[in-house]
């Protein structure tokens, strides 16, 4: 069964450093998402990406965040200058094979980011 894969599974970084979280969505999907989940809290939407551009973003997704699809397979989330409060599990998701969006998203196993 196809799956969304994320690397690394766990990343520790110092405050102020830049991190790049990587995702390989399911190959025929057209819609890509990043979510985060702070320990013990709910899953929060960050950004959606379609047709090589951001289609929607939340208030959390400020200037320190960026996304990119550098080639035909990878989808990355960059956090420019990490803060302690960025420590969370980050989930990538993908879905949809047509131009009308999707009601079902497939999530990766997540990257646990720890900022120290």
């Amino acid at each position: 069964e196809p799956e969304v894969t994320q690397t690394p599974s766990h990343q520790v970084t110092q405050m102020g450093q830049e991190v790049i979280l990587r995702c390989v969505p399911i190959s025929n999907h057209l819609y890509f998402y990043w979510y985060r989940q702070i320990l013990g809290q709910k899953v929060e939407f960050l950004v959606s990406f379609y047709n090589n551009e951001i289609s929607e973003k939340s208030e959390i997704f400020d200037d320190q965040f960026s996304v990119e699809r550098p080639d035909g397979s990878n989808f990355t989330l960059k956090i420019r200058s990490t803060k302690l409060e960025d420590s969370a599990m980050y989930f990538c998701a993908s879905g949809g094979t047509g131009d009308k969006g999707t009601t079902e998203a497939f999530f990766g196993q997540g990257t646990r980011l720890t900022v120290v």
């Binding site: 969304v4 709910k42 939407f45 379609y50 929607e56 949809g96 969006g101 009601t103 998203a105 997540g110």
Partner: protein, 110 residues
């Protein structure tokens, strides 16, 4: 902001049927009702989706009344491995991202 309301937690013994009800007071005509499951330290996983009446798959059944203001996820004969957080969502058929609420934390006890 999540549009649905569901109980924060539920407990059940193994082998019992569990019904989790969700309120969809602001559901729109184009919205589907969708349920996701999240195990600890894993990403959410799609369980089931419906528009109205009843839908059944190998994991669960979903009951949606005619007014679509609520839905009930039914898990038959739960086991310890069904311990997870269950989320109900209204999703329109377009590219609106999933918005998760706090979900219902189901604890299955032996």
């Amino acid at each position: 902001l999540a549009k649905t309301t569901q109980p924060i937690s539920m407990d059940s013994y193994e082998g019992q049927e569990v019904n989790i009800t969700c309120s969809h007071n602001n559901i729109a005509t184009n919205d589907y009702i969708t349920w996701y499951q999240q195990f600890p330290s894993q990403g959410p996983r799609f369980i089931i989706q419906g528009y109205k009446t009843k839908v059944t798959n190998e994991v669960a059944s979903l009951f949606i009344p005619a007014d679509r203001k609520s839905s009930t996820l039914s898990l038959p004969r739960v086991s310890l491995s069904d311990t997870a957080v269950y989320y109900c969502l209204d999703i329109d058929s377009g590219n609106t991202p999933l918005v998760f609420g706090k979900g219902t934390r189901l604890s299955v006890i032996a």
